[in-house]
Amino acid sequence: MASQNYYDPADLKKFGKISDWSKELGDKFFDYYGKVFEEGALTAREKSLIALAVAHTEMCPYCIDAYSQDGLQRGITKEEMMEAIHVGAAIKSGATLVHGVMMMNKVNKLEM
């Protein structure tokens, strides 16, 4: 093993290599990926911000690296990027907390 870490920044550049071991699926994925980020009903700029927020909720260092850079290239401001991450964080914490109702239901059912 060359790397001492599970995550290596240099691996991001090798992403395309996943097609080497399964060309058809790899190609289909990259086609799809490229298409998703094209200008559509949403602008490419909006998509970049969504990607950045999801990159954080998924806690993917490669995606965070890629979409921080992508945002800068598109002229997206730091404030916009941080707000997008808060949207992700709010949904994450909301999703956690809304399960509190489940807990409450269960407790209420069990308790006398």
Binding site: K13, E39, T43, A44, R45, Q69, L72, Q73, R74, G75, T77, K78
Partner: protein, 358 residues
Amino acid sequence: MLKEKKQQQQSLHKRHSELAMANNQLEKLSNGIFANGELPTFSEKIKESNQFPLRPKKLEILQINVGYMCNQVCEHCHVDAGPDRKEIMTRETMMQCLEVIRNTGAHTLDLTGGAPEMNPDFRWFVDEASKAGIQDFIVRSNLTIIRANKKYYDLPEFFKNHNVHVVSSMPHWTRGKTDKQRGEGVFDLSIKALQELNAVGYGMPDSDLRLDLVYNPSGAFLPGDQASMEKDFKKALLDDFGIHFHSLFAITNLPISRFLDYLIASENYEDYMYSLVEAYNPAAVNNVMCRNTISVSWDGYLYDCDFNQMLELKVASKIQHVSEYNEDILNDRKIIISQHCYGCTAGAGSSCQGAVTD
């Protein structure tokens, strides 16, 4: 921290930085990742697509740098310009340039600096040059100069009277990003200057008085798509300040001079070179600006482009000075290249007129 910032707001020359010397920059660009084969050199790269040696096409643009003095000291400046730079074109050299301007086959004259307006003979030169009947007469104005001193307040009128095409830099539509790259207060002054240019007719939707803006990234990343940046700039400047302009040119920062210094100091140099090489676009090589431009320095020497001028790489021709200018002989030269050229061929390509491919 504040002190460190102050230190940086001086030219490399003033700081006696090693990188103030062109040969040290060239050495940096040839060593390391390019010497050990990690990345291909620019000549190796263009050989892959049979574009070596790089040769001129028809001359279209004559770019004249009338001096390195500037009222600003932008962190990314490839000229290493600043108030301390004393290299200023004399009237005598200007007269030699005028001779060339009157006889050139180029359709565009492009005056740059530093802040060209700070040359004491600037107005005389513009006055004379505008009589030569060149189709497109560009002055690269940094905007803040218009508000820097009373004696410059009438520049918008002056430009208008000479039918000059104004091209100005504006790194972002927000104050924070602009001031970070170009210095405290630059944003507000630039906005004011743009409003004044608009007031005399520059940049207005149906006006013939052309006002274009130049965007270059404020950091170690490449510019995004020119058309969508233009859309964002237009919307933000109009909504927030009522400002109009014509086109936006998205320009890649080349790894020379102060930007190179920044890349090294911020430990971004290698990653930046990687991203330039990765974004290499052979189609952009056809339209790099050295292929249709001659650049003249403040002391009258001739270069393939403004970047080669700063690297002190004079044209590879027996004609090297404006006093002996001969377009046919000059056009028969090989263009001098090094790894900084990757900045012109990344993505959609980059020139003083922005992207070079669709």
